[in-house]
Symmetry: C2
Subunit: 192 residues, 2 copies
């Protein structure tokens, strides 16, 4: 059952996310999802008995993927100071560099029912707490969290506000602010 290829569930999730981004979460219909995922509506309903279950899975999938990436990055950094912030930056960077085709999906969930965002709410709260605990400067940890949140939201809403270069600049800027051995106060970072 655990095939190396894309499972039916994954195909459905991906199809749903794509359609939601293309036509807007409001027009995300089970018919369309089934069609794009390459099965019938009956088959779709077999896999996800209700639309709500599908959307729930979309959110869970999103959180789980992020968490996995984050933990991998954190493992490289053995709980050193700022390691959580650094890991977050690298996760975003990796997503960005690989140009991972991971369209919203969660927007569709929220659009259908705002309470679907609760797992993300909980996850982010924990994440932020860990960042603050693990950081030398809680204020800067907060700003790092928000900066990444900003980047993620632009992606979520499919905004091309930042050019490719801008994104690299932002990520590298963050990286430098939270570089492994930087005891200096980064209030006036003179780059170059």
């Amino acid at each position: 059952m655990r095939a190396a290829v894309l499972t039916t569930k994954d195909k459905i999730l991906q199809a749903a996310a794509e359609i939601a981004m293309e036509v807007g979460p409001v027009h995300l219909s089970l018919d369309a999802v089934a069609r794009r995922a390459g099965l019938s509506k009956g088959g779709l309903l077999y896999t996800f008995p209700t639309k709500a279950k599908l959307l729930e899975a979309l959110v869970e999938h999103h959180v789980a993927e992020f968490d996995e990436s984050l933990r991998m990055q954190e493992a490289k950094r053995n709980h050193k100071v700022n390691s959580v912030v650094q890991a977050c930056i690298e996760v975003y960077r990796a997503e960005f560099v690989l140009n991972e085709p991971e369209p919203s999906g969660i927007l569709a969930a929220i659009a259908n029912d705002p309470s679907f965002i609760d797992p993300i709410r909980r996850y982010n709260k924990q994440l932020l707490d860990r960042m603050k605990e693990n950081s030398e400067d809680p204020t800067m940890a907060l700003i790092a969290f928000l900066t990444i949140e900003g980047l993620r939201s632009l992606k979520l809403l499919d905004m091309d506000t930042l050019t490719h270069e801008d994104q690299i600049t932002a990520i590298d800027g963050l990286r430098q602010l939270f570089a492994p051995c930087d005891p200096d106060k980064p209030s006036q970072p003179a780059t170059g």
Copy 2:
């Protein structure tokens, strides 16, 4: 109160935004909007001939309000270095302090049709350009922009990730990073 009497348009826009936030953009129906705005569906359709026009107005309203606040803040700062970033910070701070009841609305628009976000896309691009031009350090301008975007997105998605204190900390942190460092210029008083 800018006007004791809220115009019908404003009432409708507000009602739509509220409903969208409560039950999710997918379940934003004209019937419900009319009911909450205190008029009939016929009356609603008289004011906004289609749902699309309503959603468009929602986005326009949002951008226009932000732009007005931003220009007011900028006017206080006469094009000095970092004044655009500072103005943005203050606009967000004012919204936050006043606890302005301005629920998403734009999320509903995007959920119905992703292209409704285009005006915001354009606006934000211009804003970022102005920030960069006006800043000493374009990288830090970028980070400031993203931080504010992060704050705004958390509000947009109705996420309570940051406590009230966290938000104050973040805003003050930003303020400090972009404080007028010119000794000739007196710093802004904290309370208004």
